[in-house]
């Protein structure tokens, strides 16, 4: 076990370890970014436009279309439609919905499309409180939206509503 005699040598070792750490970190990041760890965030129009393949995990955001909410027989599964006022995607979710889930409000869901074109969500995030909506749920073409009740004060410049 030869100790390092000089400061120069020690510096060399420390520097090379640091370089190795940086290189390792870059590799690690690249490697870890593969697979399921990245999920795209899309609104319904984009889902149709991009022809997202079945089984690919992504996040779907938009408004819960008023009148679309149906609870299934089992009491645990919910079906509703997420809309960005230009296109719709049917969503199915089994679980307990978040406290602020309401028709006409913004949600972000995460899951995969199944073969019938239904988005099977395993996570649903709704507005957290009156001042806060998940960013990205505001439809890009909100003016075209026929559901004015969906455009409540929680969107856009939420600080303005204070």
């Amino acid at each position: 076990m030869a100790g390092l005699k000089t400061r120069k040598k020690q510096r060399l070792v420390v520097a090379s370890v640091a370089v190795a750490a940086v290189a390792g970190a870059i590799l690690l990041v690249l490697f870890a970014l593969g697979g399921d760890s990245l999920s795209l965030f899309l609104q319904p129009s984009a889902v149709h436009a991009k022809e997202i393949e079945v089984g690919k995990r992504f996040r779907l955001g938009g408004l819960v279309a008023p009148g679309s909410f149906v609870k299934a027989e089992d009491g645990l599964t919910y079906n509703f439609t997420i809309t960005d006022c230009a296109a719709d995607v049917p969503v199915s979710f089994k679980g307990i919905l978040p406290d602020l889930f309401r028709e006409g409000q913004g949600v972000v869901t995460e899951g995969r499309l199944n073969a019938d074109g239904t988005f099977v969500a395993d996570t649903v995030l709704a507005k957290h409180d009156e001042n806060y909506a998940p960013p990205g749920t505001m439809p890009k073409n909100a003016e075209a939206c026929t559901h004015p009740e969906g455009l409540d004060s929680g969107y856009g410049n939420s600080s303005g509503s204070r």
């Binding site: 030869a2 307990i96 204070r162």
Partner: protein, 653 residues
């Protein structure tokens, strides 16, 4: 009137901050001791003024003075007193007030406790601290004034987000802020050292207690936050790798690294410029966290309301502080005299490895947190980086850290012998392998990661005890070992406690991840569900009324082997101001694990959707965090730090 008083006090504090940030430097340049001494007075003045201001705001909240905008937006007369007080920091403006109050409190503490610091150095530290306060006070007064009046004033306030009306969350922000802001002291010490152009072992001894205190608070803040997420959000999870959680986790990682590298500076006078850099980086992460939370640039469930003006101010402040300090570092650090040389195998090297792994982890978390921002900035669409990314990084980087953690404390300073350490640790390796293999064999479906995680946790646990045994020469000279055990310095107890805490956390994570049982069902009164070997019998629901909410409360009798253990009573609450539903999970902690029940919605015909969990040993997370904090406090109370640093050698100054 009271609010105006608070507002006015804040402006006086601003004046003090300006004085304190500028005058001491002039005093040092001119060699005028009276100007140098302004630093102390300004620090105390700032704290007193900010304290008065904060008290005025709290008073406005307590008496529900709705003519004050911050009160009207965030409080309500029907709220319990605790949440009126915690409501002060439950919003953007008030939480900044809390931040500044702690910042000035720390500066005040440095001034009062730091009498043994050379006057010149103390003045530099306090001047940097004042400059930071100046930035935040300007931020408050220009963009986030909590004292703005409403005319006419509303009769009733908007109330506080019910999710925040919770004892765990009431104390989470102050704890976290004490940690965030505590790191400012390490930062100020680092900048002062760069200005003075020297870093001595004495410097490390001054910095370490502050860093340690900040670290203890950060640990506590993170633990409280995850505990809150666990029982209040009702998803059964405790950590979501949410950007805001990451924002608090990165300073923790940097502080942990700093804590360890400061030891090397103190004991061996090496790693100086790296330690300075870490001190700067740790506080920069704190500021970055503040920016991320308040600017609204990231999608997060924790984010405050979005306001571009605020975001731009903080971004500018961040650029000045981080850019300025790093520039100073680049300019001054090469002039620091290099310190002691050490061997490739030594305590120093082990601590360097700790630092490399922790800072790499922090960097990877940073990349994962900011990646969506960059992608969006280049118009490449919106995406999010999910937990698998961070979990992967944690596994890859923390496993070698834990392996090395067994060795580190057994290696001698300067030049250690790996063979000797390995010999001592052989039993730990044996026990860990046996544990891992047993788990792998016993569990179905090849749970490699579970076996690996438990093996690591076992390794760490046993090696902590072996290290203590070695230190008191338990096996070599058993007689007198007990008195040697009593004679161990508190710092070494602190280390053992903190390392053991990490092992307990690892046990908690691994066991609960592997063997949590979850059941999502619809139940009618009288139904029984079997979860994790416990039978949950639904007894129906009853309406409940709280001070500012009404609720549906479900009743579940939990039994095991025919013996009733407890009745879980989860609630689905409807708060009135603001109108909002929250689910209150009901948790019964057992030694083996937590029984956890959440009640959802009525499913018709007297049936309710419910979620039941058995989470084995999840309390390890919080017990382990508590052990880490105890370890930190033990170390903080070590005689070496308690009696203060030895008389400074002022020769080089």
């Amino acid at each position: 009137m009271i609010a105006e008083l608070g507002h006015f006090a804040l402006m006086i504090a601003l004046a003090f901050a300006l004085l304190g940030a500028v005058v001491p430097h002039i005093g040092i340049a001119r060699g005028n001791a009276r100007l140098v001494a302004v630093a102390d007075n300004a620090a105390i003045g700032q704290f007193v003024m900010v304290f008065i201001s904060y008290a005025a705001l709290t008073y406005s909240f307590i008496i529900s003075d709705f003519s004050v905008m911050a009160v009207a937006s965030n409080s309500h007369t029907a709220k319990p007193l605790l949440y009126k007080i915690s409501g002060v920091w439950g919003n953007h403006e008030g939480s900044l007030m809390l931040w500044v109050m702690m910042l000035t409190l720390f500066a005040c503490a440095v001034s009062l406790r730091g009498k043994y610091l050379p006057a010149r150095f103390r003045a530099r530290v306090l001047a940097v601290q004042s400059a930071l306060a100046l930035g935040f006070l300007l931020f408050i007064l220009l963009t986030s004034n909590p004292y703005l009046r409403l005319d006419p004033s509303p009769v009733e306030g908007n109330g506080l987000n019910p999710l925040l009306q919770d004892p765990g969350l009431a104390f989470h922000p102050p704890m976290l802020y004490l940690g965030y802001v505590g790191l400012s002291v390490a930062f100020s010490f680092a900048v002062a050292a760069l200005l003075e152009g020297q870093v001595t072992p004495l410097w490390a001894r001054w910095v370490r207690p502050w860093t340690l205190a900040a670290w203890v608070f950060l640990t506590g803040g993170l633990a409280l936050g995850s505990w809150w997420a666990y029982y209040e959000l009702g998803w059964g999870g405790w950590w979501f790798w949410d950007p805001v959680e990451n924002a608090a986790f990165m300073p923790w990682l940097a502080a942990t690294a700093l804590l360890h590298s400061a030891i090397v500076v103190e004991k061996r006078d090496a790693l100086k410029s790296w330690t300075i850099l870490l001190a700067i980086v740790a506080f920069s992460f704190s500021l970055l966290g503040t920016f991320l939370v308040r600017s609204g640039v990231l999608t997060s469930v924790h984010a405050f309301a979005v306001d571009p003006a605020r975001g731009i101010f903080i971004l500018g402040f961040l650029a000045v502080v981080v850019g300025g300090s790093l520039t100073l570092y680049a300019w001054r650090a090469p002039k620091l005299t290099p310190g002691g040389v050490f061997g490739l195998v030594s305590r120093e090297s082990a601590l360097v490895l700790n630092n490399i792994l922790l800072s790499t982890f922090a960097a990877v978390v940073l990349v994962g947190t900011l990646y969506p921002l960059f992608v969006e900035a280049f118009n490449a669409g919106q995406l999010s980086v999910g937990p698998p990314f961070f979990e992967y990084a944690a596994a890859v980087l923390m496993s070698p850290l834990i392996v090395a953690l067994g060795f580190g404390p057994l290696l001698a300073w300067k030049r250690g012998r790996i063979g000797r350490a390995a010999q001592i640790l052989l039993p730990a390796l044996g026990v860990a392998l046996v544990a891992a293999i047993t788990i792998y064999w016993q569990s179905i479906g090849g749970a490699v990661m579970t076996a690996f995680g438990l093996g690591l946790a076992t390794w760490l646990t046993v090696s902590v005890f072996l290290e203590i045994a070695e230190r008191i020469q338990l096996f070599k000279k058993p007689e007198g070992a007990l008195s040697r055990l009593r004679g161990l310095p508190r710092a070494s107890w602190g280390m053992s406690f903190a390392h053991l805490g990490l092992a307990v956390i690892l046990f908690g994570i691994t066991i609960s991840e592997a063997w949590t049982e979850e059941d999502l069902v619809v139940m009618a009164a009288g139904d029984t569900e079997e979860v994790g070997g416990y039978s949950f019998t639904f007894r129906g629901v009853a309406p409940v009324a709280g001070p500012n909410f009404t609720a549906v409360r479900g009743f579940f009798d939990v039994a095991r082997g025919g013996k009733t253990l407890t009745t879980l009573m989860p609630e689905d609450r409807l708060y009135t101001d603001p109108v909002m539903n929250t689910t209150e999970a009901s948790i019964y902690p057992l030694v083996r694990g937590d029984l956890y029940a959440v009640i959802g919605e009525a499913a018709g015909a007297g049936r309710w959707s419910v979620r039941l969990y058995f989470k084995p040993f999840i309390s390890g997370l919080w017990i382990g965090s508590l052990m880490m904090m105890v370890g930190g406090l033990l170390s903080l109370s070590d005689r070496r730090l308690r009696i203060g640093a030895p008389k400074a050698k002022r020769a080089e100054g």
